[in-house]
Symmetry: C2
Subunit: 339 residues, 2 copies
């Protein structure tokens, strides 16, 4: 039976195994510190397509098909795919999944989408609703810039607190049986808004949501930083990570150096001119599906808490004077199925 | 144990009950044939807010809070809310849920969102992952027109195959225990694209997806039109409904007059100048949460199959020459828990 540890936290009784994963990034991420971990590095941000949006969609499709191929699981045994992205009406996901012949649940969780998809896929595999399920997401610097900010040709200046949208995608295939790593628990987040309205400071907008979900996870599961080798957020960036660490201390939690952030890991912050680090759904997805899972399989970490974070505004809501709500979903991943 | 009837169809072993539901529409829907069934009819499409987008968001919030109030279930026992809408980055849902303090899974399924949410909420309640869960969605004629088409002030002419975006919202609260009606099964759809690229003919774009999901449901469950008193699609409109009926006949299924469509039911098509009928996420949501569930509780129908349909394009994808992919998810609703 499912064990609900609290309102937001579920401990999975048949922890789904990560059967396969695949990541694609562009050359910028391919020049960063994780360059040896990505499965594919594109030298052309258009990936041979006519537009950036089509390139982003192709990354999603290629990540899924390659993850499935690596797993050797027949594609027609994959019962659900969970996908979403940042583009209006989530076209990267929709058009990628069109060609895949897999039942589809479309998500919008902004940059929290990777853990939103993993959370739902995990529960459906755990409960026997799916034999196998995929969670995938993407972002693309160029498609995001022109949708949310300025035409690239304009060459707009960036403020010091901005982050750089990762051009990348990552797909995880979950199964009922296998050798792990395993998704062991899920903590679903709430929408949290402390009133930040600076679109160039998303880390500050998302940090309170990350705090809320992480503290809820600790409270409901009875765990804390001692139980994890790494607690990794999605894309808070340098400033957001500092804010989260401060907020945790104020709430009585010392991270003991175990807190890190995908947005801080994917680039060489000093050298790559990315200001506060990486962002975008593809940031946490590509870091999970490269460095994190590959090193975990090698034994670097036994237990990690992985929490993607999203900022839920739009250009319209910002123009109408709204603040930026955030959300964070958390999954715990372990090398062992129990214990 | 969960009974998977096929890859896409799950028969729920602990069918969740519909504890409460609530609908809000604007005056136009309130002048249509279902006017006596809606819980709230707004005389102001701005709902006292400064913008249409904020009005749409407020409809979502009011539907959820009123459904919860009707159910008398404490809000802090509602474990998940599934919500999404048509606006870029799903701001209607995000900002509505911000004030509700309920763990949130954001969806993007275009006009299929109501059944996407019901499908996921049903499985999580059925499996014990949630005590109670809400599915809600919305649309607003004015916010949709200006995002997808023209400024309202422009007064653009509409082609005969267009549909009218419903200003409305509907919320359903599902629980583990109760008197029904019950969600008995879920059939999850695939993305289907037969190459329609006319943005003013969404019914034609979505009908093939509706066919695919309905035929899959029949094949996997062993049921057909004889097993349902009503098979109701989301918002195919007059033309889309005719196309679906034709496609069903070509595939050997006679609907025996049981097929209907929320987009055809919500307006007086002849008198209300809506061309092919209603559309938008709020169309199927508001019809379900008024006429369908109220008449079902009174005994008009024992078993219905409810299938919202979505068109997954964006203005960007259309401008880049893409066709319109469709998707449809189906849930079956019965007055009895078994049999």
């Amino acid at each position: 039976m499912v064990k609900k540890l609290g309102r937001q936290t579920v401990q999975l009784s048949n922890p789904p195994t990560i059967s396969a994963f695949f990541s694609i990034v562009s050359s910028k991420e391919g020049e960063g510190p994780l360059k040896h971990y990505f499965d594919m590095i594109l030298d052309d941000a258009k990936y041979g397509e006519e537009t950036w949006e089509k390139a982003e969609s192709r990354m999603v499709k290629e990540c899924v098909t390659n993850a499935i191929a690596k797993s050797k699981i027949p594609a027609n045994e994959i019962d659900y795919i969970f996908a979403g992205d940042l583009l209006n009406q989530c076209i990267s996901a929709n058009y990628a999944i069109r060609d895949l012949d897999i039942p589809f649940f479309g998500l919008y969780g902004a940059c929290s989408t990777m853990t939103e998809g993993l959370a739902l896929a995990s529960m459906l595999v755990d409960g026997g609703y799916a034999r196998h399920a995929v969670a995938v997401t993407s972002s693309h610097f160029c498609s995001a810039e022109r949708q949310f900010r300025f035409p690239l040709e304009y060459g707009g200046q960036r403020t010091p607190t901005t982050q750089w949208t990762v051009t990348g995608s990552g797909a995880v295939l979950l199964s009922q049986q296998g050798d792990g790593p395993y998704i062991r628990s899920v903590t679903t987040g709430k929408v949290i808004d402390l009133g930040i309205n600076d679109l160039n400071n998303m880390g500050a907008a998302m940090a309170p949501a990350a705090l809320d979900t992480l503290v809820t996870h600790f409270q409901e599961s009875g765990k804390n930083f001692d139980d994890y080798d790494l607690v990794v957020t999605g894309d808070l960036g340098m400033l957001g990570k500092d804010i989260l660490r401060d907020l945790l201390r104020q709430n009585g939690y010392d991270d003991k150096g175990k807190l890190d952030d995908c947005g801080c890991m994917i680039y060489d912050i000093e050298k790559q001119d990315v200001h506060c680090g990486g962002s975008g759904c593809g940031c946490s997805a590509s870091v999970l599906c490269s460095y994190l899972l590959k090193e975990m399989k090698k034994g670097k970490w036994n237990n990690i808490a992985f929490m993607a974070t999203g900022a839920l505004m739009s250009t319209t809501s910002s123009q109408q004077g709204e603040t930026i709500p955030g959300i964070a979903h958390l999954v715990t991943i372990s090398r062992e199925k129990e214990g």
